[in-house]
Symmetry: none
Subunit: 220 residues, 2 copies
DNA sequence: AGGGCCTGTGAACGCAATGTGAAACGGGCG
DNA sequence: CGCCCGTTTCACATTGCGTTCACAGGCCCT
C-alpha cells in the first residue's frame, strides 16, 4: 500500500505511534508543496491532517492537497472538540474526522473503514444541481449536457456555490473559502467572476447564481 | 427531510435529545420488520443504530435494513470503545460510527457530514414562529410555506422581532439592535419598515407585528 | 366634543450596492 | 522578448431600497 501523507511535520508522537502500530507507512510533510514534491509515483494512499494546533495552516493544506490533480485518497482530519463548528462549511475538504485526544483503536477503525470504502465503491466524483453538472475529476462543467468552458477560478467558485445550494455567502467568505485565507484583495473581484459565470451559464440559467442585496450571493 | 430511523426503541435519552436539538425528525423502531412497516413513502433519510447495549440485535438490525431493496441513506453506528474490534469485519454494514458516551456536537457534525456526502443537503438553521419561518442560511423568509420577498432591513427587523416573541421594543432599541448602535436617524424609519413588513405578511398575518401605543412594537 | 399625541400611509429623494465595460496586471510559453 | 490568456482593478452606469417628509387618521384625556 502507498504511504499516507501526514501534516504537520513532525506529527504528534501519539499519532505517529498509532500509525506505526497499525502497520501503515506514512510520510510527514510540513506543507502541501512539500507533499507534492515527495509524492510517490503511484500517489498517496490518503492524508491525515492535524488541525487542532494550527487550524489555518491545516485548512490550507487540505485545500491544496485536494486541489492537486492526483485523485488523493481519503482525508482524515484530527480536530479538537472546539473546532467542531468549523467543520460545517468545509465538508468537501475531508472524508472523516477524529476528535483529539483520540483513542488509538478508534483511529485505526476509522482509517480501516476509510480505506475499505475507497477500495470497494469508487463513486463518480460529481456535483450536480438541476441542469448543472461538475465533474470533480476532469474539471469539466456542463449544463443541459453542454460542456461549459470555465476558467479555473470560475470553476472553483461555481463548485463551491453549487456544493452549498441555497446558502448565502458574503463576498468575504467566498474570497476566503474559494480564493484562500491568505487572499487580500478587493471584494469586487467576486462580482466580476459572478458576472462571467452568469454569462457563460447563458440567459436561461444565469439566475442559478442569485444576488442577495447587501449580503452576498446564493446558488440555486 | 425524511425522518431517520433509530434502533432500538426507545433509544437512549441523550441520543433522542441530541437529534431533537439538531432539528432532525426521527422514528424509533425495535426491529427491522417494524422499521420496514412504518417506512415513509420516500424512504428513510438514514439510520442510527445503538450497538453498545445489545450488539447482536444491533448487527441484525443493520443487516436487515441494508438488505432492503430500498437504497437506505447513511447508517451511523453508536458503539462503545470495547466494540471497536468488532467493527473490523463489518465495514459493509455502516457508513460512520461514534463512540459512547458521545459529545452531542460530534454527533451533529457526523450526521451533517453524512447527509452532506449523500445529497448535499444540510440542515438549515431556522427561526420559526407559528406559520412564519426564517432561514438564516439562505436569507429566505416564508409564511405558510409561501416564500416572502423581503429586503435586507425588512428581513433583519423581522428576524430580530421573531427571535424575541412577545417582547416589546421601543423604536430606539430596535434602531440600535437592528440597524446598529451608531445609527443616528429618525425613529419613524421603524414605522415604515413595520408597515411594509405587515403588507408583505398579508392581511391574515399582519397582526404578527403588534403596535404597543406610545411604547413600540411587539411580535407574536 | 375637541384638542393634543401618536401611528399609519403614500410618495419622493438620495445614496449605497451591484452590474457593466474596459483597461491594467502578471505569469506562462513560444 | 512579446504575445496570449486569466485575473484583478478601476471608473462609470444603473437600480434597488432605506430614509425622510407631509399629511391623514385614530386613540385617549380633559
Amino acid at each position: 500500500m502507498e504511504p499516507i501523507v501526514v501534516f504537520p511535520d513532525p506529527p504528534p508522537p501519539e499519532l505517529a505511534q498509532t500509525l506505526d502500530m497499525a502497520g501503515y507507512t506514512w510520510v510527514a510533510a510540513g506543507s502541501a508543496d512539500l507533499a507534492a514534491r515527495v509524492e510517490p509515483a503511484d500517489g498517496w494512499a490518503g492524508a491525515i491532517v492535524v488541525a487542532d494546533r494550527d487550524p489555518d495552516a491545516a485548512w490550507a493544506f487540505c485545500r491544496s492537497v485536494r486541489k492537486g490533480d492526483n485523485a488523493l485518497g481519503p482525508l482524515l482530519l484530527l480536530v479538537s472538540g472546539a473546532q467542531l463548528g468549523d467543520l460545517e462549511l468545509r465538508d468537501e475538504l475531508f472524508d472523516d474526522f477524529c476528535l483529539t485526544p483520540f483513542h488509538p483503536r478508534e483511529m485505526e477503525a476509522r482509517l480501516r473503514h476509510l480505506f475499505w470504502r475507497k477500495g470497494g465503491g469508487t463513486r463518480p466524483e460529481l456535483v450536480e444541481y438541476g441542469p448543472l453538472a461538475l465533474n470533480l475529476e476532469t474539471y469539466q462543467a456542463s449544463i443541459d449536457g453542454q460542456p461549459l468552458d470555465l476558467t479555473y477560478m470560475e470553476y472553483e467558485l461555481l463548485k463551491f456555490l453549487a456544493q452549498h445550494p441555497g446558502k448565502v455567502f458574503t463576498r468575504e467568505i467566498l474570497l476566503s473559502r474559494v480564493w484562500g485565507y491568505e487572499y487580500y484583495g478587493g471584494a469586487r473581484t467576486v462580482d466580476v467572476h459572478v458576472r462571467r459565470l452568469r454569462a457563460k451559464l447563458g440567459d436561461e440559467h444565469a439566475n442559478l447564481i442569485q444576488t442577495v442585496r447587501s449580503v452576498g450571493y446564493r446558488f440555486g
